[in-house]
């Protein structure tokens, strides 16, 4: 009995100290002087632009990584390709690699004297310190989530249902649309939620390639850092609250998705 309480207490205590306290503090500091200063801080042109840019990048990165994530998962599970195991491992790279390293490698590729940068600059394409490189960084960082969620579900459902659809006269595309997608839909949803959270919170890789020019190439996380460094603490706290709010919203979305997945995803044959 005591052991059980000990485990429970230490687990909850740990979570409270490590996770809850800092986030709660952010909220407290942001609203310390009431709603007015908070509202003023997040409606400055730079803050609004940072929020808009962050959402714009996510809106492109999430669908791309969802579509290609599903394709990657199918390739990994369904096709015995040479080096399939390697692909499976490489997909995890963004989880293992520090975002700063990712940012740096993109920088080296697209800088004026980099591998692709020279050619692109000559053809008038500005990658670095602009939208394209920021998007690439975000795509790189958030690639694994959909793949990681979908792969085990695809493995578990096997090819039986797809084969059954084929013998019933269903084309490959119809089978994908009517059989495969519904079977993996909760895994995809969960993956999308995680991808979104990762995109919104991305800092390291993006900050290296974006240049962080306020009102132009600054995402919300960078806005937090810049505000903090410029002693605009209210601005930093307010933007942090927006980020935390978005994160909490994704968490809530996740918990709404979870039980449904358990109800319909695990219907056993």
């Amino acid at each position: 009995m005591i052991g059980r309480y000990l485990v429970r207490f230490s687990a909850l205590g740990y979570v409270a100290v490590i996770l809850v306290a800092p986030v709660a503090l952010i909220f407290w500091r942001a609203f310390e002087h009431g709603l007015g200063p908070f509202w003023a801080a997040i409606t400055t042109p730079d803050a609004l632009h940072a929020l808009k840019l962050t959402l714009e990048l996510a809106v492109v990165a999430v669908p791309l990584n969802t579509a290609f994530g599903i394709a990657c998962a199918i390739a990994i599970v369904r096709y015995r390709m040479p080096g399939g195991g390697l692909v499976n491992a490489i997909v995890d790279l963004p989880l293992a690699l520090s975002p700063v390293v990712v940012g740096l490698s993109l920088y080296l590729l697209y800088a004026r004297d980099g591998w692709f940068g020279g050619w692109l600059t000559r053809h008038g394409v500005q990658m670095l310190f602009a939208y394209p490189a920021m998007l690439l960084a975000m795509l790189f960082i958030s690639l694994p989530f959909v793949v990681r969620e979908v792969v085990p579900v695809l493995r578990e459902i096997g090819i039986d249902q797809e084969e059954a659809a084929a013998t019933l006269g269903s084309s490959a595309f119809t089978t994908f649309r009517k059989v495969t997608i519904p079977a993996i839909r909760w895994a995809v949803t969960y993956g999308v939620v995680l991808t979104t959270a990762r995109c919104l919170g991305e800092f390291g890789a993006v900050s290296i390639v974006s240049g962080g020019i306020a009102g132009r190439t600054q995402v919300l996380t960078q806005y937090v850092q810049a505000s903090y460094e410029n002693f605009n603490l209210t601005g930093a706290y307010a933007a942090s609250v927006v980020l935390a709010g978005l994160a909490i919203a994704t968490l809530v979305a996740m918990t709404i998705v979870r039980p449904k997945e358990e109800r319909s995803g695990n219907r056993d044959a």
Binding site: E163, T167, L168, S170, S264
Partner: protein, 317 residues
């Protein structure tokens, strides 16, 4: 519609699943592919359905070469071993699947699904999900789903494999009746000889990727081509060099005309029949099947010394 495979060979890596297999299933017949696991029977069924591409050989459906035809275009209904239900669809949606993707009018789909559900005795369960059905119900739903597009050929992979003994027996009789109603050329894969004997017009007995014997159930039982067939399709016991069915052995109380002497080791009463386990002079065990009356007349007891005579034996070279 007749189905034929000619010299079909299929390998998975080093494993030869099918080795030069040629079989024919007559139009409107019910053929059983019988064999132990690893005999290649399921692989052969999947080759016929187009789910596996053979390394060599050809498949003909209704006299037309079908080896390179996609499974979608073969007009084949397939019932999978674990039924492969579409888990996110209701029973009705499952059965309607083949009709919906063919864009049949809604009223027609409705009517056809109702008719099929009645045929497989699932009327009233149409709004359930596969997870809410029993094994037998799921099996019948899979069958209705496969029958929906009116396939020329019905292929069943261990259709009763995952069900308990009582349900299996019921479904077997039901399947036979269904076959008589629909007259669809049917091939059924099973490892259960009793099942094959009971439902099939013709049995193809396979082992290690090869066909051992083809014939009606009675022929396989009465005239087995080899030792494997004899022991696979029914109980068998050995008397010196010969193979005998346990019901083809007589127990005698005197040595006159007997083939061998033996001692009664155990007597098992199985209701209608009585099984007598014997040990001969060399210590070899043999088993004899008697009717209850015959056993009662002999008044046997464990430890008795008796003589046995085989009515018919088979010796394989």
């Amino acid at each position: 519609m007749a189905i034929e495979t000619r010299n079909v060979t299929k390998r998975f890596g080093d494993f030869v699943a099918l080795d030069d297999v040629s079989i024919t299933a007559q139009s409107d017949s019910l053929t059983a592919l019988l064999g132990p696991s690893g005999s290649g029977k399921s692989t052969l069924l999947r080759v016929i359905a187009g789910l596996e591409v053979p390394d060599a050989g050809d498949v003909f459906i209704s006299g037309k070469e079908a080896t390179a035809v996609a499974p979608q275009k073969r007009g084949v209904g397939f019932v999978f071993q674990h039924y492969a239900p579409f888990k996110h669809m209701t029973v009705r949606e499952n059965v309607a699947f083949a009709l919906k993707i063919r864009h049949r009018p809604r009223t027609e789909v409705r009517a056809r699904v109702d008719e099929l559900l009645e045929l497989v005795q699932l009327t009233g369960l149409d709004r359930r999900y596969p997870a809410q059905l029993s094994g037998g119900q799921r099996q019948r739903m899979a069958l209705a789903r496969a029958l929906a597009p009116e396939p020329e050929v019905l292929l069943l992979d261990e259709p009763f494999g995952a069900l308990d003994a009582r349900v299996r027996k019921e479904l077997r009789a039901w399947l036979r009746r269904l076959h008589e109603e629909t007259h669809t050329t049917t091939i059924l894969v099973t490892h259960d000889q009793e099942e094959a004997m009971e439902v099939a017009d013709e049995v193809v007995l396979m082992a290690k990727g090869r066909v051992e014997q083809v014939g009606p159930p009675s022929e396989l039982y009465e005239r087995p081509a080899n030792e494997f067939v004899m022991s696979f399709v029914g109980p068998v016991t050995r008397l010196a060099e010969a193979y005998v069915r346990p019901h083809d052995i007589e127990i005698l109380l005197s040595p006159d005309g007997a083939d061998a002497e033996a001692m009664v080791e155990r007597i098992v009463h199985l209701g209608f029949e009585v099984r007598v386990e014997l040990v001969d002079a060399e210590g070899e065990r043999l088993s004899v099947q008697l009717t209850r009356e015959a056993a009662a007349e002999l008044e046997l007891a464990a430890g008795d010394v008796v003589w046995v005579r085989a009515r018919r034996t088979r010796v394989f070279a």
